[in-house]
């Protein structure tokens, strides 16, 4: 979700709850372990289950098999009253088997060794019946087997913070009256923790613990004549962080300084005028560029989309001839370099190993404006072998296999993306200062067609006159052609202008399916593992401003 989803202010949030891990029965009573972790670490252990699953799949004839186990904890708090409600905890076991170039996949929540062995045999049986189809090969390449455990670095595991402390923190924030106050109805936060195991028939057996948390905290305008006008606390958009996400956001400090933001907003709105249709030089802030990067180049460089495997679902890509286009197609100005990573601290797709046990490395998708690579899994990497051979690169998965949980088949999903910032520390003001006549977009949100070929970009728009920010503009939207837009990037901001866009379904938990139009979901059934995109501010020349509310 970038923030258009926040428009759905009427989402009825489950009330607050807690899943903290102190055993509920105290240890003197001792006999029955009821603490949450015991659900998964009880005997037989994960490792035992995984090894039996792999062995059973191999025995049944799998040429390759992998197994994933996931244990997902989710908790969410609403600021509306001490309203302790739901918590959610799920377990998944998923087995993928390969026979003669065809996959089989089975998954279930929990089970004993006999159940899991049966599940593995069913996955193999499925692969065998699929292999009645025309000859197909899957080349997985060789990777060093992943072994060990990794925990994403966070400061405070939110599932160890007692619920009393969370409620006390919320009451404290709600009680603050210096400056502005929190709108309890539209404020909430959530945390997710994944414990994951991946094992393969090639000897990999790794486990990792990952976290995600985020908040949407609305603040009331102190001007009572502007009832219903709210602004959001900054710095709490979804990140791979623990409880410190909320503590570090300095909510009291932000509340104290919020009056100035409201005064500015009020002044902007009073002086606003309708956007004039035409071609303009557009300056976008970092968050806007992050959304643009994600929804255009990010989506277009997914290899399964490019080759048509997603045609019946999320769509295709204008980068649809990879072997011809790679290394040659200029899709942006020389300033445009987009790198994929699953390593950046605090970002949502950061892992040690992907869903296939591959240790991802950072890699460029677009280098100096030229298409440089695609997002791939192990199977997909081989599809680009002629290009990699020609370029002297190893044929290796880019580590983009992911899955929301073991109950869904792993597929290629977006890693974290980063548009490289400018070399100098050019601030947003400096970008604006060099534009005689144009528009500025803040907190923008991009949306593309099903081929990522064209799209729209909207956000808070201001006119730029003689290098200075002028009046707010209403009703304006940029209508763009993806390649033309990226080719017209004429200046980039420096590191201080970098903004973030978080794509995650978790803030909406049970209602996310109804919002799928807002999300870049993939696959059938649909999936959306979380990821983060970062980008600096940028100047883009010659973009068309239209007014969507005015029909043809």
């Amino acid at each position: 979700m970038t923030h258009s989803a926040a428009a759905f202010g009427m989402v009825r949030w489950g009330a607050a709850y807690d899943m903290h891990h102190t055993p509920v029965m105290n240890s003197q009573e001792g006999a029955v372990p009821v603490a949450v972790p015991d659900i998964v670490v009880r005997s037989p252990t994960w490792e035992t289950l995984a090894r039996h699953a792999i062995a059973a799949a191999q025995h049944a004839g799998a040429q390759y098999a992998d197994v994933r186990l996931t244990h997902t904890l989710f908790q969410s708090f609403s600021f509306l009253g001490p309203n302790v409600g739901k918590s959610k905890e799920t377990i998944g076991i998923g087995i993928r088997a390969l026979v003669n170039g065809y996959w089989g996949f089975t998954a279930t929540p929990g089970g004993d060794i006999a159940d899991i062995e049966g599940l593995a045999r069913a996955a193999v049986a499925q692969a065998k019946v699929n292999a009645q189809g025309p000859r197909r090969t899957v080349e997985l390449g060789t990777i060093p087997p992943a072994v060990g455990h990794w925990t994403i670095p966070i400061a405070i595991d939110p599932f160890t913070v007692p619920i009393e402390e969370k409620l006390a923190m919320m009451r404290y924030w709600l009680s603050l009256r210096a400056g502005c106050s929190i709108n309890a109805m539209f404020s909430r936060f959530y945390f997710v923790r994944w414990e994951e195991l991946v094992a393969t028939s090639e000897g990999a057996l790794c486990t990792q613990t990952r976290h995600e948390g985020g908040a949407s905290i609305a603040v009331n305008d102190p001007d009572l004549r502007r009832m219903g006008s709210t602004l959001k606390i900054r710095g709490v958009t979804p990140q791979a962080k623990g409880w410190e996400l909320l503590l570090d956001a300095d909510i009291p400090g932000q509340l104290a300084g919020m009056s100035a933001r409201f005064a500015q907003q009020k002044q902007d709105e009073e002086r606003a005028k309708p956007a004039q249709v035409g071609r303009y030089t557009v300056v976008c802030d970092g968050a806007t560029m992050a959304s643009l990067t994600d929804r255009s180049l990010g989506i277009a460089t997914q290899l399964d989309r490019a080759l048509g495997y997603e045609a019946n679902a999320s769509g295709t890509s204008f980068l649809n001839d990879p072997l011809t286009m790679l290394g040659t197609l200029q899709i942006g100005s020389p300033l445009v370099t987009v790198t994929a990573n699953r390593s950046a601290p605090g970002q949502l797709a950061t892992v040690k190993w992907d869903a296939e046990g591959v240790e991802p490395q950072d890699f460029p998708l677009v280098k100096a404006g030229v298409l440089a690579d695609y997002q791939t899994t192990r199977e997909q990497a081989a599809w680009l072998a002629p290009f990699y051979h020609k370029s002297g690169l190893p044929v290796r998965s880019r580590g983009c296999a992911a899955t929301e949980s073991a109950l869904l088949i792993p597929m290629q999903h977006s890693p974290n993306l980063a548009l490289a910032h400018g070399a100098d520390d050019v601030g947003l003001d400096a970008l604006i200062a060099s534009v005689p006549d144009g528009v500025l977009i803040r907190d923008g949100h991009a949306s593309c067609d099903f081929m990522a070929r064209s799209g729209t970009l909207s956000g808070t728009m201001y006119e730029i006159r003689n290098g200075r920010i002028g009046r707010m503009l209403t009703g304006g939207t940029i209508l763009f052609d993806t390649m033309e837009l990226w080719k017209n990037v004429s200046a980039l901001g420096g590191p201080s202008t970098v903004g973030t866009s978080a794509t995650t379904r978790w803030p909406y938990e049970t209602v996310w399916l109804q919002l799928t139009k807002e999300y870049p979901v993939k696959g059938q059934p649909p999936q959306l593992p979380s990821y983060t995109t970062q980008a600096p501010a940028a100047t883009i020349d010659k973009q068309a401003v239209i007014n969507l509310l005015r029909k043809a």
Partner: protein, 509 residues
């Protein structure tokens, strides 16, 4: 006004098969989702494990699903999955604690019950609790108003049959040197709401879906077709594949059409893609949205945005040839009569709500707006709301699509829309793209395939500019997936609409 059967139901504790004792089925006979006996067994075990008094309730959504998916004419992913949503509720001294898990072992249920009890202890008693403590019976309809939606043809479509179907369907595109990607999914779902006060509900249904996209290798054309049904044997994948292939083959050299207002024939799927936005969550049919403005403005059926509190109920809102209704027993589009579980409309204390036959718009006149049972109880002192399932049956005319084309001098024909996004709530203005088949009609004939266009149009404007209505047809509906599958089928006619607004070209195929 209560129906007679409603009175009868209120007098009994519940409607359900309480007389059936939970039993332990043989492993090989067990269904692939939680059976009614399994659900009662879960509640019974929770009841034994509970401490601290009060009472216990569970809401269970369980499913099994098998799918096969292909791309570039070869099966590339596949799966057979089961999962559960087991919401454990412990109500103690009027305070509710609730924990959701997906496993059914004693260890998990015990941990869940303890956690729920701990949460209940932290929550003050509430008015919501009084409602539940009052053991208000579930709002259930009679068996005669409950469609049977479990199909053995769907449930028994195993991996081998799915694979064979996929291979044969992909072969058709392959034989024509085209590339197809398609998806077959069958699933079976059970739902239960049971508590220790004696209220009990259980039902089960199946769902099958097939959709296929055929593209030419050059990537200049694309055709799509699809449908869904609770009964796999009612789906004709071969005919659908033929439609998608035909659309692809005939649109390989599309021409650019200037954006503008066109007389536009929308195939039933396109009508559904567009009009269904009105019936989705936040779509404008909610009474509350039309009474009081929200952050999105006021709903489309408010009489005057400056005078909140007055709706357009009783007024003509669309073309008088159109009636839009929904009925779980509709033979052309039957759907489950209940909403169960954690949908955004069903909060904790109302795990079950009921869909009854409703006519939303009668010959163009707005006759009902939706409100939930919770709102009915809290605000209208009734036990029954008017719930919008998202399913709808829209009346049409007698014309065939061919006749509609033959009577068009110049216009466009749209297969379907994609990525429709709301621009303006009050006017129901949406922007989106045509996809998988757009055609130019000249002098009563399809003259050329056209490149896709972006449209910007209001649902209400379009439904007030209807020239012709065709024979209604059941369309493809994306019902979600997994435990949250909520079938909301629709039957809609093709429509010819005057001055439908297309605002931009796109080269997307």
């Amino acid at each position: 006004m209560l129906h007679d059967h409603e009175r009868a139901l209120r007098s009994s504790v519940s409607y359900g098969r309480l007389d059936q004792a939970p039993h332990q089925a043989q492993p090989q006979q067990r269904p692939r989702f939680l059976s009614e006996a399994d659900c009662h067994d879960i509640l019974n075990r929770l009841h034994r494990l509970a401490t601290g008094g009060g009472f216990t309730a569970v809401t269970i959504l369980s499913y099994w699903s098998g799918n096969v998916r292909w791309g570039r004419n070869q099966i590339n992913t596949t799966g057979e999955v089961s999962d559960n949503w087991i919401e454990i509720q412990r109500m103690i001294d009027g305070a509710l604690g609730s924990v959701t898990v997906n496993e059914t072992t004693d260890a998990v249920l015990l941990a869940g019950a303890r956690q729920a009890e701990r949460l209940a202890a932290l929550k003050p008693a509430s008015r919501d609790a009084e409602i539940l403590e009052g053991r208000r019976p579930f709002d259930l309809v009679s068996p005669a108003e409950t469609p049977s939606l479990f199909s053995e043809a769907t449930y028994q479509l195993d991996a081998n049959q799915r694979a064979k179907a996929a291979i044969a369907l992909a072969q058709r595109a392959s034989a024509a040197s085209m590339l197809s990607s398609g998806y077959i999914e069958v699933s079976a779902h059970s739902r239960a709401c049971i508590d220790t006060t004696g209220r009990t509900f259980y039902d089960a249904f199946t769902r099958a879906q097939y959709s296929v996209t055929v593209r030419n290798p050059a990537g200049t054309s694309s055709g799509w077709a699809g449908t869904d049904h609770h009964d796999w044997s009612k789906i004709d994948p071969d005919t659908l594949t033929g439609i998608a292939l035909d659309k692809c083959l005939k649109s390989q050299n599309p021409v650019r059409i200037e954006p503008g207002r066109y007389t536009t024939i929308l195939e039933p799927q396109a009508v559904y893609d567009f009009v269904s936005n009105l019936f989705k969550s936040w779509g404008g049919m909610d009474l509350a949205d039309n009474l009081v403005p929200t952050t999105r403005g006021i709903g489309p059926f408010n009489r005057d945005p400056r005078l909140p509190g007055y709706t357009r109920l009783g007024e003509k809102v669309i073309d008088e040839r159109i009636t839009i209704s929904a009925d779980p027993m509709d033979p052309e589009m039957s759907f489950p009569a209940y909403e169960v579980g954690p949908g955004w409309r069903a909060p904790d204390l109302f795990p079950l709500d009921t869909y009854r036959k409703v006519t939303w718009i009668d010959r163009g006149v707005l006759t009902h707006l939706a409100y939930s049972r919770e709102e009915a109880i809290n605000e209208h002192d009734r036990n029954t709301g008017i719930l919008n399932s998202g399913a709808f049956h829209m009346t049409g005319g007698t014309m065939t699509l061919d006749e509609m084309i033959a009577t068009t001098k110049r216009g466009l024909l749209v297969t379907r829309f994609d990525q429709l996004q709301e621009l303006h709530f009050t006017s129901q203005l949406y922007r989106g793209y045509t996809r998988d088949g757009l055609w130019l009609i000249e002098n009563g004939k399809i003259s050329k395939a056209a490149k896709n266009l972006a449209c910007t149009e209001s649902i209400l404007f379009a439904l007030n500019n209807v020239e012709q209505l065709g024979v209604p047809k059941r369309i493809f509906q994306d019902a979600g997936f997994g435990v949250f599958t909520i079938p909301a089928p629709a039957v809609v006619p093709p429509l010819k609409i005057r001055d439908f607004s297309f605002t931009a070209l796109t080269d997307a195929v």
